[in-house]
Symmetry: C2
Subunit: 268 residues, 2 copies
């Protein structure tokens, strides 16, 4: 069960930090290491300080690194089996095609969870959510500057579109209790509103760090009473903390630990 | 320029038909051919009768067939250079990640166009649309039964969400005049409404055939005065027209020709 695995990792490592694995070919080449080695170095350096890893498939797809993506997820399962892997793919398609994407995420790559896009409707999320042991992380309010253009549109009943997605996700689409939502740290007000709609549902929070999201505001808006309920994801701020070949692994470890500590300071 | 290439192919082949390439491993194995050979057979059989090919990346991704996807697009460019290729990927992510997906579609796979999801907002479509020579096909009203759950929500100004997407796509997001919309053949009323909003913008129409969309209703609702403006996509009805090893290629050619003729009968 994905959410149980996630929350166990959050308790065991006392961490809400998720490390996003967004491999930038040019930056990695500059370090003089291969992609596989860089990925393993990032994973090993940060594993003690995180509750999840989130490889972003677009970076792998752009450079044709499907084998490396498969390898690093297998490496995480073998060497850090308590840490779940969220494949950040933001897939969305009609049912018969969504079944293929579910095979891609859960069978080919053996991810524990996948991010998906709700625009096509709840029926297109079933091929993922019917895998009851897997997590399905639905875009709700995204971290980008233009996310309000559709997501913040007001409906005729006064609800915003992102609130409707939160409502449907928690009340209609969650038969297997394996849904989560994506909510950008850049929008703490919307985060608070979403928390009030979805109860205890865990939320994946991108947008801390390079995108400008604030840790304290995020925790105030979204933390559950039990101190969990949030997966706070950072990519660039951790994995590219140093561009020095002899320091990048240590710098990533320190950046992950520092983010964990900053979060925990505000979580007390 | 994608739209010029598309409309030239529509005129040259007198066809609005797009063949969707959705390789089903089990069905292809049953025919006793390899994936590469099957794809080339489908392309060669139907090329005289189509205006576009639309490989669905989910089917390739589920079976780890990235090389075969790359190969078949290259094969189309070399052997049927007048026929554009629309990569059906329905990608959607924040700008820095969308740039990676644009590299995937346009550089790695050399697609002429890609399908994308608008939920995250217009800023997330720029990394695709800034490739002025490429087409960007934005989901508007999709063909699945549950598409109305979000897309048909009424906004506080009386507009439906899919109408807002059509409005933004035609008035805000289309600086390079390279946007198109996806509208399911299963919703002719919405198609007519979208046509009235977007003027001459070409529309990609899935949902004919296996999904139940009607050709006549589609043409009445969406055809432009010049007899173009629609790309009518069919996958299963053409590529799996026969499950016999000695007939599947001929059956696909006949099915593509039959759909072209049915469309043209109503287009006169």
């Amino acid at each position: 069960m994905f959410i149980e695995k996630l929350e166990q990792a959050q308790r065991d490592n006392n961490s809400l930090v998720c490390v996003g694995l967004d491999p930038n070919a040019a930056k990695i080449e500059q370090l003089g290491v291969g992609l596989d080695d860089w990925l393993m170095a990032m994973v090993d350096a940060t594993a003690p300080h995180v509750c999840a890893f989130k490889p972003q498939i677009a970076y792998f797809a752009a450079m044709g690194a499907e084998e490396e993506l498969k390898d690093i997820i297998e490496y995480i399962h073998q060497n850090h089996p308590a840490i779940p892997v969220i494949l950040d793919a933001k897939r969305g398609d009609i049912g018969s095609t969504a079944e293929q994407y579910a095979i891609e995420a859960f069978e080919r790559y053996q991810a524990d969870a996948v991010t998906v896009n709700p625009y096509m409707g709840g029926d297109t999320l079933l091929p993922y959510s019917q895998h009851a042991d897997k997590g399905v992380v639905v875009l709700c309010k995204t971290s980008n500057a233009g996310s309000g253009e559709l997501q913040n549109l007001t409906l005729d009943n006064g609800q915003k579109l992102f609130e409707r997605v939160a409502t449907q996700a928690s009340q209609q689409w969650n038969d297997n209790n394996n849904l989560l939502l994506v909510v950008g740290a850049t929008y703490p007000e919307e985060l608070a509103q979403i928390r009030s709609i979805v109860g205890d549902m865990p939320l994946l929070i991108p947008g801390i760090g390079a995108q400008g999201g604030d840790v304290q505001a995020t925790l105030q808006a979204g933390l559950r009473d039990d101190g969990l309920g949030l997966i706070i994801s950072s990519s660039r701020g951790i994995i590219y903390a140093s561009d020095q070949a002899d320091q990048f692994q240590q710098a990533a470890a320190e950046a992950a630990l520092a983010l964990k500590n900053t979060i925990n300071d505000h979580r007390q």
